[in-house]
């Protein structure tokens, strides 16, 4: 059974970039544009991993993370272009994975987030 990943980000191009790079690894990818959509998808489908952007309209990443944590222990990786210490702590506080990793758009293409996921 292939692992299923939910990618949440308000930038369509970013979703596409992650999706395009993760599909060749054999993952099944589902995408959502904001926290609300993410929760909707979550209630209908099963996921093995969630990649969650912080800055989104309607419901930001931290809130979405807390909401998901209310009913699931699925691993969550927070995504942010900023990656400040504050964001990292806030992420851990909201229930994200043991290391809230920060993946900036520039570094995604070169490095394969797929291997990072395997490593966990």
């Amino acid at each position: 059974m292939p692992n299923r990943i939910l990618v949440v980000d308000d930038e369509i191009r970013y979703l596409r970039l992650l999706e395009a790079n993760l599909l060749p690894e054999g993952f099944e990818i589902s995408t959502a544009l904001n926290g609300e959509e993410a929760l909707e998808k979550f209630s209908n489908e099963h996921f093995d991993l969630v990649l969650l952007d912080i800055m989104m309209p309607k419901m930001d990443g931290f809130t979405a993370c807390q909401r998901i944590r209310q009913f699931s222990q699925v691993p969550i990786i927070m995504l942010t272009a900023k990656g400040s210490e504050n964001d990292k702590v806030h992420g851990l506080d909201s229930g994200a994975g043991e290391s809230a990793r920060c993946i900036a758009p520039q570094s995604t293409g070169g490095r394969n987030p797929g291997t990072d996921v395997h490593a966990r």
Binding site: R13, Y14, A20, N21, M55, P57, A81, D93, P105, G110
Partner: protein, 402 residues
């Protein structure tokens, strides 16, 4: 998680607790009450100020006898200087009065005031006595302590105000840098990301996907170019360093050129452009076109699918250009700020855009001696209105005289 409050905010609150009201009225109140138990006619406060450390009077009240003499009466300036020199209480009793005139017999007491940020003197003058006894001096010293407390508060308030100003300035600079970084890094990130993806050794992309990625790289490169141009324009305009070349141009033809260009782009369903007669304005055609292009780009972004109406009308030596759409409109809360540098309507679907476009339009139109304004509502859409002075004569050297 321990939350540390902003020290400046807390300092302000502390200051408010100690006593409301400004320091002058605080001292007025103190003096008024003090005079119920203590005889004093003139009272003055001197502070050592400035780089030259001059002893300046900052407060003076004429309260009792000698009120009418005003400036002629003594304020104890000489004694104050003596207090500064010695650092101690000084007092002065006049020689035995020869005439019955009280004013010429001032008994003066000078008390040093010292706090962290200030050195000063409190002088009290009694015209015609009674003499300042030891007890009087003790009591007056206690009073001087209270005055010192109030002064300390004044200095703290001044410091807080200064720090607030610096902090606001720094905040603006930080925001500015953050916005620029973000606006440049976003397209760069995509260019890098999609390029690296295409170059992956372990994946072969099919032709459709390859074209898709290349199109995104192309588009993001254009965006990056656009952001850089906007940043440079905005910086030049802000510093007054934008070179513009004005000459009389035909507004109708210029507008038509821009309209035709956007018609071929096919991003706007209908563009209606009308004018009665062509009108000449004194303008830099590149920059004036830029303003119209910006309005079109905004309409595409924020009023997608809406037709656009542009009209030129002559009105008393000015030409009025209306740029209208029937999109969702702009919130009344955002309307006053829309021409501000970096202002972005919060929570908008299109997260991209540096908030510079309308700022640049405003500055460019001002440089053309005109002005741009906006009116908008949810039901009717948005109208941007530009007013420009009509050009007089061929030379184009003269502007509107009215």
């Amino acid at each position: 998680m321990v939350k540390i409050e902003d020290p400046i905010k807390v300092l302000s609150e502390l200051t408010g607790f100690v006593q409301a009201g400004n320091w002058r009225s605080a001292i007025d109140n103190l003096v008024k009450t003090w005079r119920k138990a203590f005889i004093v006619d003139n009272l003055a406060l001197y502070l050592l100020e400035g780089p030259g450390l001059n002893l300046n009077p900052v407060y003076a009240r004429s309260l009792g006898r000698g009120r009418r003499s005003g400036a002629d009466a003594s304020w104890g300036e000489n004694l104050a200087n003596k207090v500064i020199d010695s650092g101690k209480m000084e007092h002065f009793s006049p020689a035995a009065p020869t005439s019955g005139d009280r004013i010429s017999s001032p008994f003066i007491l000078g008390l040093p005031l010292k706090c962290v940020d200030c050195t000063g003197v409190l002088t009290m003058i009694r015209f015609g006595g009674p003499k300042f006894t030891r007890k009087h001096i003790q009591q007056a010293s206690i009073f001087a302590e209270m005055i010192t407390n109030i002064l300390e508060r004044k200095f703290h308030q001044d410091k807080i105000d200064q720090l607030e100003t610096v902090r606001n300035k720094t905040q603006l600079q930080d925001d500015f840098i953050a916005t620029i970084s973000h606006d440049l890094n976003t397209p760069l990130g995509f260019i890098k990301g999609y390029t690296s993806s295409l170059l992956r050794n372990d994946v072969t992309w099919n032709e459709e996907t390859t074209r898709e990625f290349l199109a995104i790289i192309d588009d993001e490169t254009d965006r990056l170019i656009g952001v850089i141009h906007q940043l440079l324009d905005s910086a030049r305009l802000k510093d007054g360093r934008m070179l513009m070349k004005f000459h009389p141009i035909s507004l109708g033809s210029l507008t038509k050129q821009v309209v035709d260009r956007y018609k071929t782009l096919n991003k706007i369903p209908e563009i209606h452009f009308s004018f009665d007669k062509d009108i000449q304005v004194e303008a830099d055609p590149v920059r004036l076109s830029q303003v119209f292009e910006n309005l079109f780009d905004n309409a595409i972004k924020y009023a997608p699918g809406s037709p656009i109406w542009i009209s030129l009308k002559k009105q008393k030596g000015m030409v009025k250009i209306d740029f209208k759409d029937i999109g969702p409109g702009i919130n009344s809360e955002d309307l006053p700020f829309i021409f501000e540098r970096f202002y972005r309507v919060p929570g908008h679907i299109d997260a991209r855009g540096s908030g510079l476009g309308l700022y640049i339009c405003d500055e460019l139109i001002r440089a053309h001696h005109g002005n741009i304004s906006v009116s908008s509502s949810q039901e009717k859409g948005t109208i941007f209105q530009i007013k420009l002075p009509i050009s007089q004569g061929d030379q184009g050297a003269e502007f509107l005289k009215e």
